[in-house]
């Protein structure tokens, strides 16, 4: 076990050195720097906070376009886990757009309140990452068929449970976005059996997806990990 930790820490150190190298090219860590220009505009625009669900010590590539072959602009470090902690701290990002399962992000940063150590160097400009590496924390208690409070409910987590618990955050991945709404895709297998039994999934949530997967739109997105966000029940701020 201790050997595993040493190996992982060594890998993280090497990976961090890599981030620093890329970062020096990309102007990492200074949110005041201008955003990197990206080649392709998003198909939909949105505005909320999300978390990077990356466990690969090599980190997550941020690309110049919404595809896996586009130029790598920089990297984001993986979820921070210290052996003495029993939870992972993810890099936080602002999501501003989406196209074909890829998301335009910016302002990536470590959560120093949770890691309790200096922020790791990382790419903080604008670029694209795959939605399969992003998750969100929604304080909604229902998932809907469309990004509208009037759309039919297609997903519930237990009785009046909100989506902002550890299990749901871990299980969800971003599929699309629209304004302050995110479409989240879940896989049955990401839920433990005891948690799966509390899911109430409408057939519409599974329509057109491979077996074992389902999607729902959620709002009330909270972009901070260490606590909850109040005021979301009021919708957008007063003009």
């Amino acid at each position: 076990m201790a050997t595993d930790h040493r190996l992982r820490n060594a890998a993280l150190l090497l990976a961090t050195a890599g981030f620093a190298t890329l970062a020096s090219c990309a102007g990492t860590g200074d949110p005041a720097l201008p955003a990197t220009t990206t080649a392709e505009p998003p198909a939909s625009t949105c505005s909320f906070g999300a978390f990077v669900a990356e466990t690969d010590p090599a980190g997550l590539n941020v690309r110049s376009a919404p595809n896996a072959t586009a130029k790598v602009l920089g990297k984001l470090p993986p979820t921070f886990v210290e052996p003495s902690m029993n939870y992972g701290v993810r890099v936080e990002v602002d999501v501003v757009g989406a196209r074909s399962g890829w998301f335009l992000i910016r302002n990536a940063r470590d959560n120093e309140a949770l890691t309790d150590r200096p922020a790791r160097p990382m790419f903080s400009g604008e670029g694209w990452v795959s939605g399969s590496k992003l998750t969100v924390k929604s304080q909604a208690d229902v998932g809907r068929a469309r990004p509208s409070p009037k759309a039919p409910v297609v997903l519930r987590i237990g009785d009046n449970e909100t989506f902002d618990n550890d299990v749901v955050i871990e299980a969800g991945r971003l599929a699309d976005c629209n304004g302050r709404w995110a479409q989240v895709e879940f896989a049955d297998q990401r839920f433990a059996a005891k948690d799966r039994s509390s899911l109430k999934i409408d057939a519409a949530a599974r329509a057109g997806l491979p077996p074992g997967r389902f999607r729902a739109w959620v709002d009330r997105l909270c972009g901070i990990q260490e606590t909850s966000c109040d005021g979301l029940a009021g919708g957008d701020p007063a003009p």
């Binding site: 449970e161 606590t227 909850s228 109040d230 007063a238």
Partner: protein
């Protein structure tokens, strides 16, 4: 004849009970004995006794006491005490009996009937004792200068486990602290270590205001599936917040439309915060307890998964 009180750990509950039992039949005797029993008590102990006694007076006792000027004055004084913010002593310095008596007195005076019944029936409840603190304190990261007390009257235990807590948001979550140009949205927030903007714009000035949970009684249940890999607790009904609309870091009469009964939902949780050494409470309005004492807090609650939480503004 007066009750023989241990000067170091007086049994204030017994004094209060004795007064309430005699007040209807012999109000003058009860008043005389009350004065004799309480003369040597500290102001906090006397206030505690008054709260405990007042909660036990039936209408006959109140009518009897109201028949004399001294009795009327005492009742008026006790009634006005309900309208004042209570002094919050350093609870960890009090004995278990004094702590339980103080906290029970506050709950009996300010809790809802549901919370009072729970206390009387020996069910575990939580009491939050807030000392007003500016959101700007500690560079906006919050201060653990409040108490959350786990009160357990079951099986004659009468224990009160006291934990440091933060019940007010830090300005690190205020939009006023956000960078703007070379400064901040609001220059009063220049010292704040900004994290993220939360809250709701109550007054339409384009700035979201942070909120704190309004004093009152709330019923909490355990949040299913946890928060940050630990147990956490969420209100079962919509909560009410107060918002700092003028941005001075305080929640008071200078914020005339501060009461927000609609936008919070049930999002002001009870959860763990940063360690005391870290100096960051992680509260954007939640009730947070330092990570280093949180396991003891959870242990003191045992398997209890729902409870009344009485939050009081003190000083």
């Amino acid at each position: 004849m007066t009750t023989s009180l241990n000067p170091f750990d007086p049994d204030i509950e017994s004094v209060a009970r004795a007064f309430a039992e005699r007040a209807a039949a012999a109000p003058d005797e009860a008043l005389s004995r009350w004065r004799a029993d309480t003369v040597s008590l500290s102001p906090v102990q006397r206030a505690t006794g008054a709260r405990l006694a007042a909660s036990q007076l039936n209408w006959q006792a109140k009518a009897a006491l109201g028949g004399s000027s001294s009795g009327s004055a005492l009742l008026a004084d006790w009634e006005s005490d309900r309208l004042r913010a209570p002094y919050v002593p350093q609870l960890p310095l009090l004995t278990t009996r004094q702590t339980y008596a103080y906290c029970a007195g506050i709950v009996l005076q300010r809790g809802t009937p549901g919370a009072i019944n729970a206390l009387k029936q020996g069910r575990m409840i939580l009491l939050g004792l807030r000392r007003e603190t500016s959101t700007l304190a500690n560079r906006g990261r919050g201060v653990y200068d409040d108490h959350i007390v786990v009160l357990n009257g079951g099986d004659g235990l009468r224990t009160a486990r006291v934990f440091p807590a933060c019940t007010e948001p830090g300005a690190q979550y205020s939009q006023r602290a956000a960078p703007k140009g070379t400064g901040r949205v609001d220059a009063r927030y220049n010292d704040v270590i900004y994290k993220h903007a939360e809250g709701f714009d109550m007054n339409g000035d384009g700035i979201k205001e942070v909120g704190r949970l309004r004093a009152g009684t709330y019923f909490f249940g355990e949040k299913p599936k946890g928060h940050l890999k630990a147990r956490a607790f969420q209100a079962t009904r919509t909560q009410t917040a107060e918002r700092d609309t003028d941005g001075d870091g305080r929640f008071n009469a200078l914020d005339p439309i501060r009461i927000d009964p609609t936008t919070v939902g049930t999002t002001m949780y009870i959860h763990r915060g940063g360690t005391q050494a870290s100096g960051n409470t992680w509260s954007a309005g939640c009730q947070t307890i330092p990570n280093d004492v949180y396991p003891r807090f959870l242990a003191s609650m045992g398997q209890m998964s729902s409870f009344h939480y009485v939050l009081v503004d003190g000083y």
